[in-house]
C-alpha cells in the first residue's frame, strides 16, 4: 500500500470541492451541494489522517521485517 495514493485521492476530493464551488457560483445553487462541501472537507482530513496511519503502520511492519520476521509486504 502506498500512502501517496491516498494523498492523490485527497487532491481529487479537493478538486471535487472546487467544482462544487464553481457550481454554486452559477444559477445552479443547491442546498445539497453546500452541505456536501463541508463533508468533503471532512473527507480530505480523513484521507490525510488515514495516510498518516498507513505511514505509521508501514514503519512498524518494516521494523518487524528488519528484526528478522520477514515475509511481510
Amino acid at each position: 500500500m502506498d500512502r501517496t495514493q491516498l494523498l492523490v485521492a485527497a487532491d481529487a476530493v479537493t478538486q471535487a470541492i472546487t467544482r462544487l464551488q464553481c457550481a454554486q457560483e452559477t444559477e445552479w445553487k443547491s442546498v445539497a451541494a453546500d452541505h456536501m462541501r463541508t463533508e468533503l472537507y471532512g473527507a480530505i482530513q480523513g484521507l490525510r489522517a488515514i495516510s498518516t496511519a498507513i505511514d505509521d503502520a508501514l514503519d512498524d511492519v518494516g521494523s518487524l521485517n528488519f528484526s528478522g520476521m520477514y515475509g511481510l509486504n
Binding site: A12, W28, V61, M69
Partner: protein, 494 residues
Amino acid sequence: MDTEQEMVRETTLVPTQTHTAPGETISVAGGVAGHVALTEDLHAAAQAIDDAATLLMEATMWSLATENQIDSLPYALMPDQEWQRTKAQCSVAAVMAGPTGTKRAEEVLTEMSDRLRVTVTAMEEAETAAFRTISSVARVKAAIADLAGMPAYLTRGLAWGVWSSVPVNMALRAGPGDPVGDALNPGVPQTSGIVNRDVLDGLGLIVNDAAYRSMVILLAARLALEELRWLEPKYLTMSRRDGLFADRHPSESLADVVTTVRDIEELGDGSVAIQRVPSADGDRYIVTIPGTQDWWVRSGNTNDAQADAAAMAGQMTASMQAVVDAMVVAGIPGDAEVMLVGHSQGGINAMALASAPWFTQRFNVTHVVTTGACVARFETPPHIQSLHIEHPEDIVPGLDMMPNPDRPNQTTVTHAISQSTDPALVAMGQTIGGAHHLNGYIASTEIAESGISGSVDAFKDSAQGFLTGGPGVTTTVYTQEVTPLHHVPYLAHQ
C-alpha cells in the same frame, strides 16, 4: 423528517435561471457556465470521490492481509520482538478501525459520490425544465390574444380594402391625405403568439433528422430550378468598395458588432464588411455577414431563399463563397484570429463555415456571433467559441426544428422580447417580421452582455481582442459582382 425527505429537500435547486437583467425574461444555455460544462465537471468530481473510495477499500484489504501475516508469524522469543509485533498489529488495526478508519471513510465517500450524482441529475432535469423562457400561461395567453384578434383584423382589413377601392379615397391620397384609410389600415397581424418557435420545436418532435434533411435538400433543389428558370444572374466574385463604412466607429461591444450586421444588411446587395483590428500580437478581423436579402431567386444577390435551403441541407452556397472571397480579397492571413458575425442566413453561413474543416484550415476562426439564425445542426471545433442570440417569438432560429445544443463552447441567449419592459421591444415581439428584426437583436445583445451570465461574460472576455476599439481599426466593405443583367433575357425586360 426522515433522511429520504431531507435528501429531497436538500437537492431542490434555486433559482433555475438567470434573471439579473431587471424585468427581462432571458435565459442562457451552454458555454463555460452551461449545465453540460458544469455537470461534466461534477460527474468527474463524483468519479474522483469514487476513485478515492476504491483506494480506501484497497487500503482495508492491505491492512487485513498484513494483519493476517503478522498473526501467522512464529512466536518471538525476544521480548523486544514481541513488543514490535504488538505495536505493528495496533498500527495496522488503527488504519481500518474507528470513525476515521478506512472502512468508515470508504462508506462515507461512496455515499457522498451517490449524493453528488443525485444533485447533478437534479441540475440536468431543472435545466431542461427551465430552458423555456416564457411560462406556459404567458404562451397560452399570447396564442389566445392572437386568435381573438384575428376576426377583428380580417374585418378591418376588409373595410380598408373596400375603402381603398373607392374613388374619393384615391383623390384624398393624391391630395391632402387619407386619415380614414390610415385608421383602417390593419398593418401586420399579431401572429407571434401562434406562429413561433414553439410550433417548430413541436414539429421537430415528429420530424426526424433524415426527414428534415430530405425536406431541405428537395427545397434547395426546387429553388435551384427556379433560379435556372428565371435565369438569375450568376455570382462572380467580391470586390472592395471604397468609401463605405470608412469612418465607422470601431466595435467596442458585442452590440456594436451586431449593429454593423444591421448596417451591412441595409445595403441589400450581399455586401460583407470586414473590420481589421490591429494589435501588438497581430491583426484580428471581424467578418460581418448579412442575412437573406432576396426572398426569391431572381435578383442575382447570393443571399436568397435558395441559399437558405441549401445551407441547411449542408451544401456550399454562393453566399458562403462570397464570404470566403471577401476574406481572400481582404488578405486575411491564415494565422490571424477571425470572428464571424451574421444575422439570419448570415448566422447560418457563419456557423456552416466555422464547422467546415476546409475553411477552418484556411482561416483561424476563434469566435462566432449569430442573431436570429437556425444553427443547432452545426458543430464547430471545440476551440471556436460561439454565441447565439435568439428570440422565442422569432420563427427563424427554430427553422432547424431542434434546440441549440448545450456545449461548453456554444452559448445560446434566449430573450423573450414580448415579455420585455421596453414597449418598443414588446411591439416587435408581436409580429413575425418584428421578432426577427435586427433592432430587437441589438437590444437583446446589449442586455446579454450586461453581466447577466457567466457564459456570456466568458465569451466576451475571450473576444476582448476584437473589441479594443482604437484609432487603427478600419472597416472595409466588399460587394458582390454578378453577371450583367443585360445578359439575362427575362430581367432585361423588367
